[in-house]
Structure formats: structure tokens, C-alpha cells
Symmetry: D2
Subunit: 334 residues, 4 copies
């Protein structure tokens, strides 16, 4: 282990937390998984099992006061994101936080400012920025080869709706799912959102009646440049997980494909079929590793993360505006 | 020529009119191109040259009073559509009319009702309904294989913006271009539009200042079933003509491809490339022939057209609502 | 009907003959289906029903002596091709003949020479030369954009094996199926075959024991230029009809796709699927029409057919060499 | 570093050797790059720089007698493969050897037997067996979903021809390039080759006159099951690196795609283009890492490698038969 080795604590060891634990423990050479925090002991133990001599604790306070911990990865339920970020920043830890960074703009901003004022690294879990397709598309656009951007289409579809209650806890599908698309629109276009219109239906789970129990949505964004974007989301598909985008510019368009690699086409009585990702891990597995590798690099080399706290705040702002637009039936200006 | 041969008059011999003239004169066995009307003599003569012994006249009145004419194809500028339909119906002619059928709902409805009351065939030029891809998709959906429809994405992009002034004359891009998508959404979903939101920008020709001089637009439709649809349009691409659609249902999705046939992939130093349509004629050439062949069949066999006057009225209603939504910044309910 | 109208007689009204009857009667404006010959009265009547006042006879002699007949389309069983061509040529009729033109080189050459000596048009049914994909590929190659051709891969696969006995009658799969690929290799490369190696297996119908009862074959061709080609064939697929080709040159490659148009992709629990042709008519329907339209044009305008008697002879030569190579296990030089 | 950590020596630090050095030093947690051997000091130093405290020596003997070395990776020029394997086996080292394992069958067999008799792990560098596409295809076939295999097409094309002299040194393109395809045919079909026919041309570098200076080749394989395979190779493309395969069975076919991931399609004035791999590292980068990771796993867990010494011998046998068939113009039986 080199002298630069960074000690990580994982705060929240659910599905995505476990994935981050595996990455830190097995795929990052200059990192160590030092501690895992989760009130559910079984979750904590499973995540800890990827590393060696990993401390397992039930509450974050013990970890945040431990001077041996350099950085935290926050993968708790959404409603704890902002307070954990704030405490971690106050404790001088570098922060990687899953999206969305908060349930309100004030909470999000406060945490980001605290981290900034202490010159700590703060990266938000917009892993698509580290996907080969999205990254290459951004490169082409930034290089000017596409001309000025005029229209973007971004789509995320989850294979199955979440369990009852989940959407209420996490702030609804605009904050939980569409926020990836909102970030993609900003990332790909290099432009800010100035106006938001959203509408949604409950078609998949029409028998749920929470405020946020919507499963099919369309959001229209106007960018500062005058470019327009549509974001379409669904919480149930019949064919797997889908994340894709199209970017139109003055000289052509780019399509970021939803299909995964592997590259086997199958011809049989059912027609021609190609491999298609079934889960977000299958589609973005590599990107999830790359984002943590780059976060580590930013800490070690004192560099700026590719998805900053500022990016987290702006995406949240759009998601909250979409939520309000959907509820009030109006266009919301930012 | 069989006893059933139907005599057609073409009213308006511009680009699309010439295409219809060629179809009638060369590809329909039981039809005859009997007359062409166009104030521009050169246009009229060129269209007439596809047939034999075709009468060329400058004004429609002469033709409409000619008992030998069974049917008219209206391909004039948009602002004459409704009055020509009304006069043709009054004269007892079957009518094929290009889209949109009128500039106002009242004009459109009056003409359609006149034709209906006289039991004349009236078909609107929504040729996509006759395209192999759109037709096959509709079949799959109507057969229930996709489950209930939840989300549709429809796109039309023209390679180059029209000349200055054109958009004012034809009622703007919602009536002239997006109307194809509005009809596709109705056709594919089998459901009616109940709510419309639209927004647009002038990115391609920012120096034009007419009311309708917009070139990049997004329309969101809510259907009676609760399903949502986005319609995105652009009047300039860097890569040719694009018309495509996606339909999401409870059990999967269908993608109607924008690419044309021909089927040659080319691999060279520039990468891998596939044939792509450059014009709407390249993309829909076959569908334009099929729609007139089917119109002829409906006359001969006394059948109901696949795109009726009612369809023309409903699509116009959506297009006018989109225009108002864009201008007033609000959602419009139908 | 214009003065130039050409009277056709169809000799042989099986599956492919019926298709030609429909084309002549319904899709060629300056042609008339005047007579149909087939010993099976029902076949003859069905083909004749596409036109009006079509004479139906049981034997070719009556037709060939009819001065009103300008041209014949030969779609009989293979073993009658050469003698019918010879008789038609002697009678002064233009000839369109299905592939292969004969079962022996001598028979094929004699018929072709007779037609040539009388300056009659003779076209062979290599319809792929009229397919948009193959034609476009040839254009690119002939234009030099691909550089010199180095390697070609051509494939034809039939969905289902023919009935027992069929392959013996028609000379085996090299003469019946692979001959399309042999012609494609010549057409695409613009180069002649100088060496042939072939091998085959009976994997689909291993219980048939005729000399020609093989169903899976590979042929390797060496061209005069040194370029190489593989031709692979199968008489049973699990997924429809497949005809495709790849051409490699000094600067890149072209892929002529096997898929048909229609252009609908379907995403569901079974993965992503695209439309795939199920029969040769689905794949080449348009090309079958184009070849007869062009044959008619060649008669009317006294032009050279795109697939000549010479092409028929050369392809037959390769097919016979492949048959011998397969039987003797050796390479055959031409 | 865990107790199980395995010490590797790299024998040969050219292009592929450097890639293996990087994998061992940076991507395998339980491995250490302990030594690099290469007569070219610069190559050795560059490869060594991926690790820490890596011993750099000019000749293999010193390393092979070092008891601290557990395993060797042989990436030297082909003509040293067999003797290095034999010496490594005699010294009790586990062996990973690049393809082909030898220039003669006797040499290859002797080395493989020595390793086997000492129960050492021996894995051959057929990295395609570790590629997601090839591996998934094998799974589908082995699971019986495709029915019995009838026809395989395997292709490898290198972007640029090797420098003059290279092909003589490495035994020609059948031993150096096509051997990957020969192994793929065996791997995918699960069947042995019983007959080989090969032919080749010098089209890319016609001015080179060594025995092995051929650059365009076709090989036909007959398998024990009666299935047939074609292997086509070229040492120059205009469009990058290509490795792909098709497998036809009784119930359908599989296509292993040549394109790389990343998944961005680009539409512009040049048409539609998709990302295409330019080098073998771009296409198989992940597979190269997986094969060493699995070799390490086989050592640690005492498991059988996925590409054994026996596989190396059989592929070499086919490659030598293809060489002889090409030179003598005959079919060679194994």
C-alpha cells in the first residue's frame, strides 16, 4: 500500500452502497475501505466483506470523528444526504455523495458551501459523466464539431417500479430518476436551464395515491442559449433498463445508445435480437467504478471533480422546478 | 383502360403536386390524370407531362364544373385547401387533400361536413399511415401485443429551412410540419389528445421576425388515456430528412426507424456509415404512392379512407392548440 | 396502350412464374401478358388471372409460332431452360430466362449464341443486380472509391429445404442457390473466377441420399485479379431468408444487408428485435419487378441487359466447377 | 498484499508484453510484477515501470532459477515460445504463453507435456475466449439453444501489414493471425477440425517475396460433426481492426460483432457513423485483462485454464495444415 493511500468510510450500505464498497475495496489501488456505517447490521457486514479489517458501525458520528478517515461515500436514503454532507464537511472529510444531494435547495447549498469553504473535495454521483458514450459525446460537442446545440432528448427508464412508499421518501421521480437526465442535459450542452415544464401520469401503479406516486413523465427544458430539451421517464419497461440521449446541433446529431456492450446479435424464429441491459448496473457498471477512481484521483492530485457540488445544486434546482411545474400545471422559470 | 377508370384533376402542381401527378399517371392502373390546374403555367405543364392528353388550365372553376372529373387531388398552398375542398365537394368530386386541411377549425369542419353530407370520399395526405413502418407498428399496437400505450416520441426534421415568408403563409411549423407527428400520435395510440403544451425557438434563422418564424419546437401531448407524448421538430438538420417515432407500452416499445432502405453499410477511414434519407421523397416515396392507390381503391370499392376528414380536423385542432400554447406560454386543453 | 406495347408469353407458371405474371400484367405500362404456358392447368390459370384476355395453353410450341408474341419469360423447371431458350430464339422471341440457364455448359452456350446471332435480347434472372443494395455497392466499387477489391463474402440461405427430389432435378444447390452468389461475386468485383474449391455437408436432411442432396456448403473462388471470395450456403435457417454480401477493398469494405425495410425495431422481454425477411419475395420483391421493367426497356430502347446470356454462361461454369470440386475433393481451374 | 500473492516474471516486453505488465502490476490484486526480461533494455525498463521494485534483466535464465518467481508470462518473439515454455516448466513455473505456442507441433507438444507432467498451470493467449461477446456466444451454443452447429464464419483483419520480415519470423499469417480464428471455431463449436483447405494472395504487399509474405487468405475447415467453417483474414483494412464471427445452427444464428462499445452514433453530412475499433487493444483490451485475472485465479484455486496447452496444440495443428494446404494446393486431413 503506497504512502498516498486514502481511507474511505461508506455511509449507507444498500444496493448502490455495496457497489461502491466493492469498487473501493477491490478496484482502487490507492484506497482502502476502512469503515462501513449502516443501521441494518447485515447490510453493513455484507459491504464490509469486500475489504479486509473493515470497521462496522451503526451510526455515522463515530466515524466522522475518526481522524484516520479521509473521505466518505454517502449512499444513505436521500433524506439524510444533506445532513451527512454537512457533518462530514464540518469534520474535514472529502465527500462523494449520491444524487440528489438534498430534498431542498437550502439544505443542498449549505452543505456544498461548507465543503467549499474548507477546500474539501465534493463529488456528486452523476456517473453518466464517466460513461464512455456520454463522455465521448460531450467531447465532440465541446470541440465544436456538432455546431451549436439546438435540441436534446434524454431518457431514463427503470425496469420495475420501486416499492410503495419509496417515491415519497426520496422526493419523487423528478428528484430520484429524472435528475440524471437533467444533469446530462447540462453536461452535454454546457448550458444552464432557464425554464421548466413538466407533466406526469400514474399508469404503471395507478392504485398508489401518494403525492409523488407518478411513474411516467415528460419534462421540457429551455436552456439559456434558446436550445430546447425533452426528458422522458418511466418507472417500468418491458425490456430492461434504458438510458440514452440524442443531441442535435447545427451540423448534425449524436445518439448515445442505450444498449450495452457484449455485442452478440441473435437471429432465430423470434427475429433478430441484440443484447440489452437489464439493470442500471449492467449499463453503467464501468462508469460507477470510473467515478470513484476519478474522485480518488481528485483527492490525491488536488483536482476539480467532474461532477461538483455546484452541479448537484443546479440539477436539484431543475428537479424541484419540474416537481412544482407538474403539480401546478405551469411553466417554472429559474 | 377498364370500365372502372377514375378521372383525376390535380389542383396545385408544386413539388408535392408533381409527385401525385406522376403517381396517378404512371402507377395507378385504374386512374387517369385528366387535368392539372396551376396558375404557374410551367408547373402545370410539367405535371401534365406525366400523362397523355392531360388538360392544362389556370383556374379550378373550369375543372370543377366538368362532369368527366371524378376526383380531385388538392396540393395547392395551404390557404386555399379549405375553399377548394368545399367547392369540390359542392361539385360532387371525391377529394384527396394535402395537410393541413385548413388554417382554421371552422373552415376545415365546413368542408369536411359538406363532403360527408354528399357521401363523397375525403382523404387527407397523412402518408405515414401508409408507410410500412408506421403501418406495422400500428398493427402491433392494435393487436395488443405492446400492452396499453404509455408514452410516445415522434420526430420530424426537415433538412433545410423554407424560404422567408413560407411559414407565415402556411400557418407556421405546427400546422405545416408537426401536424404529421400529431396525426402519428393519434394513429399509433388510437387515442385522442386532450391537453397540449408547446414551446419553440428560432435558432436556425434567428434573423427572421414573422410571427411564425420558429424552427425548433417541442410539443407535449396528454392523451385521453393518460398516456403522454413528445413531438420534437426542427427545420434544419446537418444530415438529411428525419421522421421517426417510438411507442412505449406496458410490455415493451417499438421504434419506427428514420433510415431508408437500400441497405448498404460502408466502412472506411471515416468510420462505419449507413444510407440515410436526404429528402422526404426518399423516405416516404413508397407511402406517397400507396396513399393514392388506396384512395382510388376506396372510391372504387366504396370503402372508408385510412386518413379521413375527421382525422384532418383533429390533427388541425392539436396544431392550432400547439400554436396558441407556444404564443401564450400556457397549457391548452381541448 | 401505347404503340410500343410488348406482348409477353410466360413459359412456366410456378411460384416465380406467377410473380413475373403479376409484374407484367400489373406493373409494366408498356407490356401485356398475352399468354401463359404450363402443363398444370391450374397454375396457368392462376398466372393468367393477373391480366385480361390472357391466352392459356398447355405447350410452348403454339405460342412460339404466334407472331403476335414479342418476348418470353422462361420460368419452367431448370431442365427445360436451355431447349426453351433455343426454340424461342429460333422463333425470333426476346428471352428472359430464370437461372441457371442450363444444366450443361454446351446447352447454355448454344442457346445464348442462337439468340445473339439473331440480335435478340436475352436476360438472365439474376435479380440481385437490380436490388438497391447490390446496385449501389457495385456503383461505389466501379467508381473506385473502395480501392481494388481484395476479398468478397457472399451468402444465401433459404428458410426451408426443398422437397425430396427437387435438388436432383435442378442440378443441386450450387446450380440452384449458390449461382446467385457466383453471379454477385462477378457483378460486384467486375472480375472473372479462375479457380474454384467447394465442400458440402448434409446436415439438415441427412436421410436423403441423392447425389445432390447436400444442404450446407462453402465455396472458395479465386478471381483473375488475385482477389478471393467465399460463398456460403444453407438450405435451412431458423430465422427466415438471408442474402447478403461483404466486399473488402484497399480502402474499406461495404456490407450489403440481409434485412428488409419496413424499419420497426421491437423491444420487449425477448430483447430487441428488428424486422427480418422471411422469404425471397419479401427480400427481393422490388428487384424482381425492376429486372423485368429493365428487360422491357432494353427491348424498347434496343439496349444491353444488365444480366446477359454471357453472365448466365459464366455463372453456370462456376456452379458446375463447384459441383465437380465438391464431388472430387479437388480445386478446379477454369 | 495478501499471503496468496503470486510473483510474475514477464519474458518479452514488446507491445503485448507491456500490456500484460500493466495488467499484472495495476489490475491484479493478488499478483506482483517481480521481474521483466527483454534483451532490449528500453523495452524492459518501460514494462517494469508499471510496478514497484521490479527486477530488470536481459536473459531469462537468471529469472527461471529464482525460487521467488511463481509464474511466467511469455510474450517473446514466436520462435522462442516453445523453448521458454519448456525451461519454465522444468523450473517449476506456471506458464502463460502467447499464441502460437510453437513453430512446430513437436516443440509445442513437448513443452505442454512437461508442464502437465509437473502439474503446472499452462494457459495460452487466446484472449477472445474471455471477451464478453465470444463467451456469451459459447454459452448460448453450449446450452443447446442454437441447435447443432452447422456453419461458422470467423474473420480477423489487421489495420496495417507488419514490417518486412515479420511474417517469416513468426511462421506466416496462418500461425500468427488466423490461429485466433482457428481457436474460435473450436471454442465456439466445441468440435474438432478434421480437414483443412486454404488459399491466399499477396494483394497488400505484392512486392514482398518471402515464403510467408501473403496478406489475404481464406481457410475452409471441416469439423468432426460435418459442420463447415470459413476463416477469412487480411493484413490491411481501410477502417480499423476487425474481429467477428457468425455461428449458424439448426435453430438460428449468432453474430459476434466487430464494433467496440462506447456507443455513440454520429449523424452528419457524411451519413451515420458508429464508433469502430482502430486497434486490437481497443477491441480486446478488457479481454486481455480478464485472461490474466483468470490465469491468476486458476493458480490460486488450482483450477483448469479456459485456454489450455492442449488448445494451443490443436490450434497450431490447424494453422500448420492451412499453411501446407496453401503451399501445396490440396486439402489436408488431420
Amino acid at each position: 500500500m503506497s504512502a498516498r493511500s486514502i481511507n474511505f468510510a461508506l455511509l449507507g450500505a444498500g444496493q448502490i452502497g455495496e457497489l461502491h464498497a466493492e469498487t473501493i475495496a477491490r478496484y482502487l489501488h490507492d484506497a482502502r475501505l476502512a469503515a462501513v456505517v449502516d443501521p441494518v447490521a447485515e447490510n453493513a457486514r455484507r459491504a464490509a466483506s469486500y475489504g479486509e479489517d473493515v470497521k462496522v458501525v451503526g451510526a455515522a458520528a463515530e466515524i466522522l470523528s475518526d481522524a484516520a478517515i479521509d473521505a466518505v461515500v454517502i449512499a444513505s436514503p436521500t433524506r439524510f444526504h444533506a445532513s451527512l454532507m454537512l457533518e462530514a464537511a464540518t469534520s474535514g472529510k472529502h465527500i462523494f455523495c449520491e444524487k440528489p444531494i438534498a430534498l431542498t435547495l437550502d439544505d443542498g447549498r449549505a452543505a456544498v458551501e461548507e465543503a467549499e469553504s474548507r477546500r474539501l473535495k465534493l463529488q456528486v454521483g452523476f456517473q453518466r459523466r464517466f460513461d464512455a458514450g456520454y463522455a465521448r459525446a460531450r467531447e465532440v460537442i465541446a470541440g465544436g464539431e456538432l455546431g451549436s446545440v439546438e435540441l436534446l432528448l434524454s431518457t431514463t427508464r427503470d425496469p420495475n417500479p420501486p416499492p410503495p412508499g419509496y417515491l415519497e421518501w426520496c422526493g419523487g421521480m423528478f428528484l430520484d430518476t429524472a435528475i440524471h437526465d437533467f444533469d446530462s442535459v447540462r453536461f452535454l450542452s454546457g448550458s444552464e436551464v432557464v425554464e421548466v415544464f413538466a407533466t406526469a401520469s400514474a399508469l404503471v401503479t395507478p392504485n398508489r395515491h401518494g403525492t409523488h406516486d407518478l411513474d411516467t413523465s415528460v419534462t421540457v427544458l429551455r436552456l439559456a442559449s434558446g436550445a430546447l430539451a425533452t426528458v422522458t421517464n418511466s418507472l417500468r419497461t418491458g425490456y430492461g433498463y434504458e438510458a440514452s440521449a440524442e443531441v442535435y446541433g447545427a451540423r448534425g446529431k449524436l445518439v448515445i445508445e442505450a444498449r450495452a456492450g457484449g455485442g452478440v446479435q441473435r437471429f432465430d424464429a423470434g427475429g433478430v435480437s441484440v443484447a440489452y441491459p437489464q439493470t442500471y448496473r449492467e449499463r453503467f457498471g464501468q462508469a460507477y467504478r470510473e467515478e470513484l477512481a476519478d474522485f480518488l484521483r481528485c483527492i490525491v492530485e488536488d483536482d476539480m471533480p467532474r461532477a461538483t457540488g455546484h452541479d448537484g445544486v443546479r440539477a436539484l434546482e431543475v428537479a424541484l422546478a419540474a416537481t412544482r411545474s407538474q403539480q401546478e400545471g405551469c411553466t417554472v422559470r429559474l
